[in-house]
């Protein structure tokens, strides 16, 4: 079954063709990096207007590079839940128009379920059940992934997502946007132990996260150094900050794995591209005999291939959306 996936929940306009939920024929992604740099982040109305401008071209690109036409497409899968409302609307409006005009089935999906499937697309042998850590600028969750698209949310961030903390700290340090890749790169030249930043909630009994206090600690230390007229070892600050985040993410994920008596971890979302996070997860899991999986780099950030893959799985369970499909910006996973 050839599925056209559409994803516009935040700032990437994307469309992809995926066959039978496994084979990516094409994945077209138009980033809004020019706008992000201009505004220092995502401005919902600006992003939504850009989606309106690009959506048709991106779908055309996905069809062209996949050497297919709309007549070959058997279903449309679209992100309809969790994201910026105006942005989600553009993708859903496009998806239901295609579904109606071509008389093919439509399915609306949750963005986070897409990220969970990004790892299944990259690693067909990823066992289920497993624990998924979804981590990006917009979400930060621990999910017990079960058979038949059933999910139990074990923990989530109480304030900033890890990626958001990366972006905000980078902005404060005067680094480029987005902060994740910039801090990752800079950290390679820094000393991870130069500063001892807090590891928020690392010992708490819950599996929830909180990164806003860590962000403040970094900013306060940075201000204190400026006030004292000391030199600013940016690479050391970046490396120490990154290490604190990585420590918390890894510790909590391993706790979730123990809680469910599992031995498989899937790390997914934009921050799963972070090299230090991958390194620590790989080392720690190896020691404990736990299998750990990461998506291909191209599937870490938002993309429509993961939505098409999730759509295929749901359709195999007999699920469909009707033409009244609407958007739900704050819907929980599974809702």
């Amino acid at each position: 079954m050839l599925i056209l996936g559409i994803e516009t929940s935040c700032d990437e306009t994307s469309a992809a063709l995926v066959a039978d939920g496994k084979t990516i024929l094409s994945s077209a992604i138009a980033t809004q990096m020019d706008l992000l740099k201009k505004y220092g982040g995502v401005v919902p109305e600006v992003a939504a207007r850009r989606h309106t401008e690009l959506i048709g071209y991106v779908i055309q690109e996905a069809l062209d590079t996949g050497c297919k036409t709309l007549a070959d497409v058997e279903a449309v899968a679209v992100t309809s839940r969790q994201g910026l409302i105006g942005c989600l609307m553009v993708g859903v409006a496009a998806a239901k128009s295609i579904s109606y005009a071509r008389q093919i089935p439509l399915i609306g999906l949750h963005h986070i379920e897409g990220h969970i499937f990004a790892n299944r697309l990259s690693n067909p042998d990823l066992p289920i059940p497993h624990i998924a850590l979804t981590v990006s600028g917009g979400h930060n969750m621990l999910v017990h992934v079960q058979e038949n698209c059933r999910y139990e949310i074990m923990g989530a961030t109480l304030d900033d997502a890890a990626g958001e903390a990366f972006d905000k700290v980078a902005k404060f340090l005067g680094l480029d946007f987005p902060g994740g890749p910039v801090i990752d790169k800079l950290s390679k030249q820094g000393n991870r132990k130069a500063f001892s930043f807090p590891r928020p909630m690392i010992k708490s009994k819950t599996l929830d996260f909180s990164f806003s206090g860590l962000k403040t600690a970094v900013i306060n230390m940075f201000k204190a150094q400026i006030a004292a007229g000391e030199a600013l070892p940016l690479a050391d600050i970046a490396a120490s900050f990154q290490e604190a985040i990585v420590d918390v993410l890894v510790a909590k994920t391993l706790r979730a794995v123990e809680d469910k008596d599992l031995n498989v971890v899937s790390v997914t979302g934009g921050v799963s591209a972070n090299t230090r996070l991958r390194e620590v997860f790989t080392e720690t899991c190896k020691k404990k005999g736990i299998q750990v999986f990461f998506p291909k780099m191209s599937l870490c950030t938002d993309n429509a291939a993961m939505i098409a893959a999730a759509g295929y799985a749901r359709m195999m369970l007999g699920e469909r959306s009707d033409l009244r499909l609407n958007v739900f910006p704050n819907a929980p996973l599974g809702g």
Partner: protein
């Protein structure tokens, strides 16, 4: 040439069908904030009532706004993606044109108005008719409703969904206007959009499908702010 017309720029989803001369169907559905949820269903029900399927129409007309930012994003995306998927030509029609076209027999001069969201700010344009087609006079107006008072020099029909309210504002501003202005409450009509689109498409003047964009007369607040800031810097 049978054309499907849609407009979701206001608090209704307007869907109509026209061949450029006759109205085959014209319906409007209350939508407030859920134009996205209903629009494709609305299109389907209007087509079915006219015993047509999407494949039977020769083109698609879509109201570009101005109007609700969400509404016009939804309408234009649906309009262009239906056209793209069904391989039909598309024509974008400014919603103020469609409003004016609906009252072409009322007076030689028409002022079409649409609320711009904040208090009594409006989007507006003046139209005269040539061969029954609305021809816009001057630029689009965006601003406080009462500020169009000085622009009214001759009898004019004020048309829009809150025309009576704007009539009150204008005549309070300038008492002499009550003999010049006639207010007519009307919402954008899908059939008017379809009709104007059919005339354009017949002349081979389709819009480029994929690049079709809503008519934004106001920038987003963030863009206004950033532009101001970078101009100062």
């Amino acid at each position: 040439m049978i054309v499907l017309g849609i407009d979701t720029s206001g608090y209704i989803n307007a869907v109509g069908i026209s061949d450029g001369v006759n109205v085959l169907a014209d319906a409007s559905f209350p939508a407030r904030t859920d134009s996205l949820e209903q629009i494709v269903d609305n299109i389907d029900s209007v087509l079915k009532k006219a015993n047509l399927a999407l494949k039977d129409v020769a083109g698609i007309g879509v109201g570009l706004g101005p109007g609700s930012w969400t509404g016009i994003k939804v309408g234009v995306t649906v309009g262009k993606m239906l056209a793209f998927s069904a391989n039909k030509p598309v024509a974008g029609i400014p919603t103020l044109d469609a409003l004016a076209y609906g009252v072409r027999d009322k007076s030689p001069l028409v002022c079409a108005v649409i609320g711009a969201g904040i208090r009594d700010t409006i989007y507006a344009a003046f139209y005269r008719f040539a061969n029954d087609l609305p021809v816009k006079e001057g630029d689009y107006f965006t601003g406080d409703a009462k500020d169009i008072a000085p622009l009214v020099k001759e009898p004019v029909t004020l048309v829009g969904s809150d025309a009576n309210h704007y009539y009150e504002l204008l005549t309070n501003e300038d008492k002499s206007l009550n003999t010049k202005i006639k207010a007519l409450e009307a919402t954008p009509s899908g059939a008017a959009v379809a009709c104007l689109a059919a005339m354009r498409l017949k002349q081979g003047k389709a819009d480029d499908t994929l690049s079709l964009m809503p008519l934004y007369l106001k920038e987003s607040t963030a863009k206004v702010f950033v532009n101001k800031y970078s101009a100062k810097a």
